[in-house]
């Protein structure tokens, strides 16, 4: 499925995905779909823009995703709405799955999800009976310790209703950053080579050993979220990390439990940072390598629906920067493994020949057609790529059958308690991107939203604490605290708070927990316990925020003589 098809779905189940803030151009398709009569079911604890225009808003309690998904599956089966023919012909493991979902009646799920049983029934019926039905999910699914289970749970819904392999159906993760899909495609993953080829499969390893001319490790590598632990607490000497080559990332801002990340970067023997702007990680780097930015170099990105598209040079870099690929090639050459490429196309050609799913996606085709959705296996101009991954219900498994996979719900790791009675979930700010070294340096985007950001709280909670819009508040968790502005809104439930993660002063990752999903190793950004405190002396707080901002900007090499606007 692709982004343009969203608007032609009969039903959209939008799960933990807030397109309006993370991808306005995807949200546009949802809005257009609504205009065309698409039924929208939105599962989100907040009233998001999609929830606002939805037919059914499943305003579930944070952290109850799987209970809801299993309950929907339960209704679909028990009310005879499942596509038995599709299940028989294209899937396996359905009976085992049934055993798991048996107990998840809507009545069982109601106290867990805080959604009335009847509403769950209604949603399940609409999803199962309106064709074609599409599922979009986002970080509201992925950033929990029970992430992969929910993704599989959503896939179960699509499988049991036969919503796979055609236009405007299936299940789509909407990737956050411009090239998350691309970094995965290219094998920047501890368990796979480019093109999702597993490092533990001997034949595949041999292919890459032959192509690259060296023996390769058969051990799955370290996931990025394990790094602080592997630097600070690893007992086994062989596994301890001593050098960290950070390329285009800012773990000292974006990773959970920042205090631990800072300690790790400080203790790590050798930290290399390769980036375009100074950032928090740079304060701990032993070496800084300046790279050219988007707009100053050539290349290819992969967008959320697997489309390879060209990025082109707009202006010449002003300064002594080099393209990322060139810096890496130079280091490799200096270390005795020569890499000689004239341009990005040469690298690309080497890569596609090693990846069967990408082999046909040549620069020529991407130029000519404006983009190519992989898999694209053949170099002839006739193979224009693949809009639908599991076309006609044929899946990428050995017997071409999809596997049902059922698991039980379990609650989030850190629950509300007396000391920290509220919950914190981290979300996105529409005008800012990632750690904001790019958007924060754009004049007008900075004007729209700036430090110290906002904490979204229910109006009643604010009234209880006598908090007004724009007032500075302190927000604390077991791990740390930060200062931010209060934004009373009826779009969030009482007891819940939401913060966006790109601020330095309102840095919500001071609060978040580093507990991970056991399979995807994604942190539970969407749930931790917190407490909000009123600050009596607002004048002091405003001054304090301003001073903090100036301090950090000065650290980042900005002349703050003219004073920052906080």
């Amino acid at each position: 499925m692709g982004i343009p098809e969203i608007e032609d779905a009969g039903c959209l189940l939008c799960f933990g995905y807030n397109g309006a803030d993370s991808h306005p151009i995807v949200a546009r398709r949802i809005v257009r779909g609504k205009q065309k009569g698409m039924k929208i079911i939105c599962a989100d604890p907040r009233v998001t823009e999609t929830a606002r225009i939805s037919d059914i808003h499943l305003q579930l309690k944070g952290g109850s995703n799987l209970a809801l998904v299993n309950a929907m599956a339960n209704v679909i089966w028990n009310e005879g709405l499942a596509d038995k023919k599709f299940i028989d012909e294209h899937t396996k493991g359905f009976d085992e799955f049934l055993k798991v979902i048996e107990k998840y009646t809507p009545e069982y799920a109601e106290p867990i999800t805080h959604i009335p049983a009847e509403t769950i029934r209604r949603a399940a019926r609409v999803y199962a009976t309106t064709k074609p039905a599409m599922i979009l999910y986002g970080m509201g699914v992925c950033q929990f310790t029970q992430a992969v289970d929910v993704v599989k749970g959503l896939a179960n819904l699509a499988l049991m209703t036969g919503n796979f392999g055609g236009p405007s159906m299936g299940i789509g993760p909407v990737r956050g950053q411009n090239n998350v899909q691309g970094a995965c495609d290219m094998g920047a993953l501890p368990n796979s080579y480019p093109g999702y080829q597993n490092v533990t499969v001997p034949e595949i390893r041999e292919k890459f050993e032959k192509a690259w001319g060296v023996p390769l490790s058969d051990q799955v590598g370290c996931p990025i979220t394990h790094v602080p632990h592997r630097i600070l607490h690893e007992k086994e000497e062989k596994k301890r990390i001593h050098a960290y080559y950070i390329f285009g990332e800012d773990p000292a801002q974006s990773d959970p439990d920042l205090a631990e990340v800072r300690e790790a970067l400080d203790k790590c023997d050798f930290v290399v940072m390769q980036d375009i702007y100074m950032n928090k990680t740079g304060l701990y780097a032993d070496v800084i390598l300046p790279a050219t930015a988007w707009g100053e170099n050539e290349g290819i990105y992969t967008c959320a629906d697997r489309g390879f598209q060209r990025v082109r040079k707009l202006i010449e870099p002003e300064g002594d920067m080099r393209p990322d690929w060139q810096i890496i090639a130079d280091i490799s050459t200096a270390m005795g493994y020569p890499m000689n490429y004239k341009n990005t196309e040469e690298i690309w050609n080497e890569m596609i020949d090693l990846c069967p799913s990408f082999t046909g996606a040549t620069y020529e085709k991407i130029e000519k057609y404006g983009g190519v959705q992989w898999p694209c296996r053949d170099k002839s101009m006739e193979d224009k790529g693949t809009p639908y991954l599991h076309k006609d219900g044929i899946f990428a498994t050995k017997d071409h059958k999809a596997l049902f996979y059922g698991t039980d719900w379990h609650p989030p790791v850190e629950l509300e308690n007396d000391q920290y009675p509220m919950t914190l979930s981290t979300v996105r700010e529409v005008g800012h991107y990632s750690v904001r070294t790019m958007t924060g340096n754009c004049r007008t985007l900075r004007n729209l939203e700036d430090e110290p950001g906002w904490v979204q709280m229910n109006t009643e909670d604010c009234e209880k604490m006598n908090l007004k819009k724009g007032e500075l508040v302190k927000i604390l968790s077991k791990r740390g605290y930060c200062i931010t502005r209060c934004l009373p809104t009826d779009r969030v439930k009482p007891g819940a708070t939401y913060m966006t993660y790109q601020w330095w002063i309102g840095a919500c990752n001071e609060l978040t927990t580093a507990k991970l999903d056991p399979i995807s190793n994604t942190p539970e950004y969407k749930y931790c316990a917190c407490r909000v405190e009123k600050i009596e002396d607002q004048q002091w707080a405003e001054r304090h925020v301003m001073e903090l901002y100036d301090d950090i900007r000065a650290q980042m090499g900005i002349d703050t003589g003219k004073g920052a606007k906080a």
């Binding site: 700036d450 724009g470 502005r485 606007k565 906080a566």
Partner: protein, 187 residues
Amino acid sequence: MKKEIGSFVVGDSTKCTGCKACELACFTVHNRKSNHLGKTVGTVTVPVTPRLFLTKFEQGCMPIQCKHCEDAPCLNACTKGAISRIDHQVIVDAEKCIGCKDCMQACPFGAIALLPYARDGRLVGQAMSSEPKVFASKCDLCEGIEGGPACVRVCPHQALRLVDPEAEREEKNIRAAEALLLTKNWR
């Protein structure tokens, strides 16, 4: 980060009956401290000098007072520096004022009056003249007086309102947006 602007009091001619309770209250609260104003009739020794003006016109009446303009003509006109912005409000320093009347001419609302200056219950005189010292008097939103503007508090018909312009604007925005929901079929 918040765009802060000055508040002001505004009258409503549809409710005002012209009873002048506002004027009297204004005078009273402003003179309680410096002029030891008594609480009973007959103890007032200084002229009754309110800072808002009950104004009659062809169709009715209403009090007129300072708007605390954001590019205040009175402030800009004052060469003596007697008018300044304190906490977003436009405030006259009576001690500094020399009574040049430039501010009165600059104000498009007629919200300023030249009034005798009294201290400790007595009019203040001046050298080389038998006339008492005067000053440009205008609404100061009852700065430092508990309970906020006295005129608003005493009006028996609720014809006066203290406006927090930005907060009211946001509320009106919301009402306008809600109205859009009703009119969306305009095409």
